[in-house]
Structure formats: C-alpha cells, structure tokens
C-alpha cells in the first residue's frame, strides 16, 4: 500500500530500544585481532636490514645502529599511517602491530617515540 509514514512503526519501536552508539570512553570496544594500531618494536630481534624504513610510505620509522648488533627505532606516531607494511616487510618479526589506538597527545614531540632495549618496557617518552 502506497501511503506516507511507512516508517512510523519502526520509529516508535526505537523509542524503547537502547541507543545504537556505545558510551565511549566509559565503555571501550575491543579492537579486532588484525587491528593495526601503535607499533611495537623488539630491538633484540632486529638485524638492521632497514627494509621497514625503505617500505614505509610516510617515513615514520627510523632504525639506528647504536652499538655492535644493537639497534634503536625512532617511530613518529604523527607521521605513521598505520598501514603495517613495516610489519609485513620485516624478515625477523621485530615489529608488531598492537591494539593500542588512543594515541592523541598535546604536543608533536610527545608523538616521537624512541624504542631501545633499555626503554622497551616504557616506550612512552618522559614528559
């Protein structure tokens, strides 16, 4: 039957339904397993082949040699586009995507993360 107000039943039903949106930040949605979030770097696995640097589309990662078979990674979270190509390119699985996505900071400097064997446990720079 062609008449106006065909959606009215649905609209009235919605009045008694819970909201479709979630109450972020009080309720946090679990990210899917394949989520490409903040990078994790394992300095002990790194062999310094620099393939991640070569393939990065946005020059967000820099691997530096600091000693005999010792490497550090400088990751610029502001430049990173979270494509995880570096994770795919790495032949030794020294890089990993995490589910961490709340990365907003107040200054640009705070978005530059240096990961070495010493700072591995606390990758956040001191502010």
């Amino acid at each position: 039957m062609i008449r106006p107000g065909r959606m009215i039943i649905q609209v009235l039903r919605s009045l008694f339904k819970k909201p479709a949106t979630s109450l972020y930040p009080f309720v946090k949605t679990e990210m899917p397993d394949k989520f490409r979030g903040k990078l994790k770097y394992y300095p002990e696995k790194c062999i310094g082949c620099m393939l991640c640097m070569k393939d990065c589309p946005s020059d967000a990662i820099v691997i530096k040699k600091v000693g005999e078979k010792k490497y550090i990674a400088e990751i610029n979270l502001a430049r990173c586009i979270y494509c995880a190509q570096c994770v795919d390119s790495c032949p030794k699985d020294a890089l990993e995507s995490t589910k961490e996505f709340e990365l907003a900071k107040l200054t640009r400097d705070q978005l530059k993360v240096v990961i070495s064997e010493e700072t591995q446990s606390s990758s956040e720079p001191k502010t």
Binding site: R3, P4, P32, D55, I81, C83, D88
Partner: protein, 409 residues
C-alpha cells in the same frame, strides 16, 4: 539578459557542500538555465607523488585517493602492476579481493542511501541506514584491521587470510543486512513522500547517458546495461553468477532503486564467494622492480567505472600513474540533469551521482582574478620564478642555463 536572470555561485566554500567544489548557476527566476562545474579545489598531486615512491609505498597512497572506495582504487592500481609484471595471482587471493570489494559496495550504497535521505529531508532514513552500515563496517574491521583504508591488497595477492570463524561472522552479518535491505526496498516502493520527491527529478534519458559517458548506477538507472564486473571480468567475477541491475525510470528514484537492488546482488555475490573460496596460498612473491611496460586497468567501483593507467620503466618506481575516478565521468551529466529544473532539486541531483569530488581532482587550473585569463603565468616567468625560489634556498641553477636551451626564449 532578462531582468529575472541572475547568477548564483555555490561553493567552493558553502555550508551545504561537503567537499570543496564550485557551481555557477544561471537562473531564470527559480529555474536553472545553465550550470558550470569547476573542480580542482582539492588537488593533492597524488599522481606525481606516485612517481617519487616505490610501488609498495604507492599502494597506500593510491588507497587514499578515496576514503569510501579505497579498496577499488588499490585493486585497480595493483591489477595494472600485476599485468605488467605478469604475476599469476592465487585464486584464493582473487576471491578475498572480490569479497572485500562487495563488502565495500554494501557500505558505500548504504552510505549513499542515508545521504540521499538527508538531502531530501528524510533524516530518519539517514539514521537507520547509517546504523545498519555499522554492521558491515565492523565486518570490514574484523577482516582487514580497519574500518576504512583496509590495506588488504599487496602486489601479487592479499595481505590477510580469512578463517572459518570469520566466514560465519560474515554470513551472519549478511543475513542481518539482507533483512534490513528488504525493509528499505519496501520503504522505497511504498513510501509516497520518497516516490513523489524523487520521481521525475534529474532526468537523464538513455541517449544522453550514453552520449555524456555516464558510468555506474547513474548510467544503469537510465537503462544503460554496462557493468565492468560482467563486461570485462577481473578478480573472481568471471566465475560468479550475478545480475546487472538496470532501471527504466531515468531519474533520481531510478538511481535509488538500482542501488538498493545492487545491494541484494552484492549479498548474493558474498555468499557465492564464501561458498566457492578455494584453499591455497594468498600471495605470490612479487619483484620489487617491475619490468618496463604499460597497462590500463578497469574496475567497477561502487560509483562506476574506475580506470587506472600505469607505465613502468624497469625500476622500482612507476614512470606514470593516471587515475580516473568515476565521478569525473558523471560530473558533466549533472549540468545536463539540472537544466530547466528548480534550484531546490540541486542538492539531491548532485548527491544522486554519489559524487566524490576530492577523488576526482587531478589538476588545478589557476585564473588571473583581474583578467580571468587562464594563463596565470607564462613559461619563462614560471621558470625565472623557480630559479629565484631555488636561489633563496641556496641552490644556484645559473650553470644549468648554459647547458640547456630554454624553450620559449
């Protein structure tokens, strides 16, 4: 000029427009007598940037041509590279590509349905379709790791495999979406306000659609039976059974009907892909350096035919990349559709082609604001400006002047 004739500029900055584009409408009273479209306000130089990066980096750049049809652009680009390199992509990878492509079509068409509802003042439809769209967005996030810019493609295959549990999730979501789509089809055919508002608006007859080169749902709603998925099969479409939806309404209502019925075809394709998906590897090893050659790749994006041209020169970087987004083919049609129509029809007629103006911008043409001339800067003037600019940066080109003959001088 008649006393009732006047011109209305709409854009590039306008509260009703979502993207920067400019329309100049010549009005006679309330009727539009002619319309010119000016693009180029969001030119990002993507084609040139592609030439400065390796193929792997280009995938992620090309993917960002469009946020809604990111998989379309990436697949289209990669198909061209794979053709030049002569890679035999595994069948499973082709099926996964097809699956993501159809899920993308579902989310794009649901998005359009909401936008169309919003443009005609039917915001209830916007709220409901966008709520249901979240179902397919969650599935895309589950499969690829992100809601938009899926990064699913790589040269020679796909990056992520699909597990049996994920297949069950997709089937469950497809059932939900199919039920909701049936409801929208019912609404679209029974709700008088939608039928009356959209019927006869933005008429585009068959001959005009062919002559003006309309693509995608815009052309199919005018009875043009054209779909790259069937006419020039890519990925796994050659092995799948589906109908190409056409409609004889030739107006905005027809375009809405084509899109909702295409949703039903997409669900059919998704189910076939999941049932027929062969086992095996998902990628073949691709060389970093692509041999010299050129290829043109076509792809049926949700908005219509997407065309990418890639020229390789044997290095790890392309020599030339050309992108033609579907909106470029459809944007001239809008001017034709709006001729002798009322100004109030303009938002919905523009929205009916599902425009993506920022994806379309491949060039910016500057005009001198005083004379209106397009020759903003002559070649020698541009050249001396460039030399001066570099000199300020500490690079001196005065030696080069002796080596090369300056054209135009």
């Amino acid at each position: 000029m008649h006393s009732h004739d006047f011109q209305i500029p709409i854009g590039p900055q306008h509260p009703a427009l979502k993207e920067p584009e400019s329309f100049l409408l010549t009005m006679h009273g309330e009727k539009i007598t002619s319309m010119t479209v000016r693009l180029g306000y969001n030119h990002r130089g993507i084609e040139k940037a592609c030439e400065a990066q390796s193929y792997i980096q280009d995938i992620y750049l090309i993917e960002r041509v469009c946020g809604i049809c990111s998989h379309s652009h990436a697949t289209c680009f990669i198909q061209a590279i794979e053709e030049i390199a002569g890679l035999a992509v595994p069948k499973r990878a082709l099926y996964i590509r097809t699956l993501i492509a159809e899920l993308e079509r579902v989310h794009s068409h649901l998005l359009w349905l909401g936008v169309a509802g919003h443009e005609i003042g039917f915001d209830t439809l916007l709220m409901y379709t966008w709520r249901d769209r979240e179902v397919v967005m969650d599935i895309l996030a589950l499969l690829t790791g992100n809601r938009v810019n899926y990064s699913m493609n790589t040269i020679g295959g796909v990056r992520r495999d699909i597990t049996a549990e994920q297949k069950q999730e997709i089937l469950k979501a497809t059932d939900t979406l199919e039920e909701r789509t049936k409801y929208y089809i019912q609404i679209a055919t029974e709700e008088t306000t939608i039928i009356k508002r959209l019927s006869g608006v933005g008429m585009l007859l068959y001959d005009d659609a062919v002559n003006l080169g309309a693509v995608g749902p815009t052309a199919r709603a005018s009875g043009v039976d054209r779909d790259i998925r069937r006419d020039d099969p890519y990925a796994a479409y050659g092995e799948l059974k589906f109908n190409v939806i056409t409609d004889k309404h030739c107006d905005v209502y027809g375009r809405a009907v084509v899109r909702v019925l295409e949703l039903m075809e997409s669900y059919k394709i998704i189910r076939q892909v999941l049932a027929d998906m062969p086992e095996g590897p998902i990628t073949v090893k691709a060389p970093r350096k692509i041999p010299a050659g050129e290829a043109l790749s076509r792809y049926e994006a949700p908005r219509g035919e997407d065309v990418h041209y890639v020229k390789a020169n044997g290095t790890d970087r392309p020599e030339r990349v050309k992108v033609r987004a579907p909106t470029l083919a459809n944007v001239q049609v809008v001017a034709h559709m709006l001729k002798d129509r009322y100004l109030a029809d303009m938002p919905i007629v523009i929205a009916a082609i599902d425009p993506c103006f920022s994806c379309t911008d491949r060039l910016t043409s500057l005009r001198d604001s005083d004379s209106g001339s397009k020759n903003y800067m002559t070649w020698p003037a541009l050249r001396s400006y460039s030399i001066e600019w570099h000199r300020k940066q500490g690079i001196d080109f005065s030696d080069l002047n002796k080596k090369f003959k300056v054209p135009g001088n």
